[in-house]
Amino acid sequence: MDMGARTPTRRQLLSAIAAVGGTAALYQAMTTLGHAAETQFAGPPNLSGAKPGASVIVLGAGLAGMLAAHELTKAGYKVKILEYQDRAGGRNWSLRGGDTYTELGGATQKVGFAPGNYMNPGPWRIPHHHRTLLHYCKSFGVALEPFIQFNHNTYVHSSQAFGGKPVRFNAAAADFEGNIAELLAKSVNQKALDEAVTLEDRERLLEALRGWGMLDKDYKYVSSLRTSGHRGFERPPGGGVNGAPIASPLYDFHDVLDPQVWTSMAFFMGHEMQTTMFQPVGGMDMIGKAFAKQVQQLITYNAKVTKIAQDDKGVAVTYQDTATGQTATAAADWCVCTIPLGVLGQIDTQVTDAMMAAIKAVPYSGQVKIGLEMRRRFWEEDDYIYGGHSFTDQEIALISYPNNNLFGDGPAVLLGAFAREMGAYRLAGMTPQQRIEAALQQGSVIHPANYRKEFVTGASVAWSRVPWTLGCCARWNEDTRKTHYQTLVAMDRRIVLAGEHASYVGCWMEGALLSSIDAITRLHKRALEA
């Protein structure tokens, strides 16, 4: 979408929206148009001067835990990390050929992707304003490349519009904006907005609508070379004898109003979804691996925490070695606990009743991702789609195209599902084989000619069945925030929680890191005062 015309007409546009749509529409528009603050990151914490011999035990070797360990070690603390898995990184994770993954319930997948190919079951894209993560990627030497978030040439698919056939995003979006512009221009010209908009601004608004909405001299949105310049041509401009372009016909307005169209457009307006976005070269877990390199010697793997006790002098964490079954206890002066709340709530933890109530008050989402390896990049070669997402109202929710190795030969992995809510529950409840079948069936609606034909192998992660999190992300709401958030992030004697669940940037690595920095800064202050 071309948003270039928005800035100079913002106030006028808002007034017009309020006049037409009422205050609810105005509020929504203002939220969308409002100025977004970039970040709360003010640089690394630069802690120093820990009391000699002071120690911290960190629970969880995800990004929050490893950052805490790294910064606290620099500050002079003796740090130890306990990690349930046999790898560091937590939800920062990539699956490659040869990897094995066993979900809750026992289903095991051996990933069969070709060398160099991967899927990112957890985080997969990094907003440009997630400054904390970007800072540490740079300082830890993680190479980043563009993540192609917004691609005009992908598909939008609704089972209830356009005859159930996928349409190109640029065409659907152009028709949506063109029709809205025409209707708003009609309101202005029929004097419906005379009270709300000054004469001067009515003229400016009309000019904007004509330019932005590709309207003709009569303020109509019609099939023309001009509108085709946004939505795509029947025959594109070329050279020589048949060089003249032919305009494309417009979609039916009823179809264009299908919510799949405007929600696909509005998706990219969300601050966290705005371009530019990034991904690590070689897989998301390059970040986890880089963090782990900083703290590798501090991590005890295969450690299942069974009890977290504390008194006025320190913390004692009991854990079981999942490989040998042996139990041990680790003691420290302080504890940074990054265990996801659904798991932590089941551990015998010595915290106040209010803290335990907070831990147990936050449910988790259960997204499902499915990676599908295809023999060739038919989306590039046949559909001219290079990165980006095709949205569908089926359970899979989208197909996302790889951002790496563009124009490459040989097999490539696309994201065949990023399901949420009811779609995710449905897919998660299936066996891994059934999920692949569902993803192929639904994806074939978008790419009927090639999807099954070019399919080689697939892998899926249903987050509700991930053994070490029991879910994907903490899901706060206004009530739980009000009742429990401050308790959850406050130090409970010698224990402080950190992770995406202890932030307002939930479900993002940035939230985990910001939470960790805040937690250890307060812990350090408390430790110096103690």
Binding site: P259, R465, W468
Partner: protein, 150 residues
């Protein structure tokens, strides 16, 4: 075969086109995006109606096809042979209010859907608490103010 077994067999055969009985499937509900990093657009999924359908479409994601749950760093409790299902109030409370990592389902499921699936779980997986759970019973716990009018 029981209806549940038929549904399982259908799934096992890879016939994943919504549900076997179109007449039992109500119009799909569109769902918009929640917060966090999720896909865009709207998703319309076939609305499960019977207890078996709701179980298979929702509960099974965590509690597994056999109702036995699973255990890793934490545990997803088994519903199979679970004496805590003897009274209807407890499962109604858990499904409508959520518990720990498990969310409340009042936004996703109607009272009738919750009643159907709780009845289903209480009469399957080695549980035999025959008395069906009614929509009104669910409503009394899930929406207390509405219950006052009943």
């Amino acid at each position: 075969m029981t209806p549940a077994n038929i549904l399982r067999a259908t799934l096992a055969a890879g016939l994943l086109v919504a549900f076997a009985l179109p007449s039992a499937v109500a119009p799909a509900a569109a769902q918009a995006v929640q917060g966090g990093d999720t896909g865009g657009g709207v998703v319309r999924v076939a609305k499960p109606v019977t207890g078996a359908q709701v179980y298979q479409s929702v509960c099974q994601a965590c509690h597994m096809q056999d109702g036995k749950g699973g255990s890793g760093a934490g545990t997803i409790p088994a519903l199979a042979s679970n004496p805590r299902l003897a009274g209807a109030a407890y499962p109604i409370m858990v499904v409508s209010k959520g518990k720990g990592a498990m969310p409340s389902f009042t936004d996703l499921l109607s009272d009738a859907q919750m009643a159907n699936v709780i009845t289903y779980v209480r009469t399957n997986f080695g549980n035999s608490y025959a008395k069906p759970v009614s929509e009104a019973e669910v409503a009394r716990i899930a929406h207390p103010p509405a219950a006052a009018r009943d």
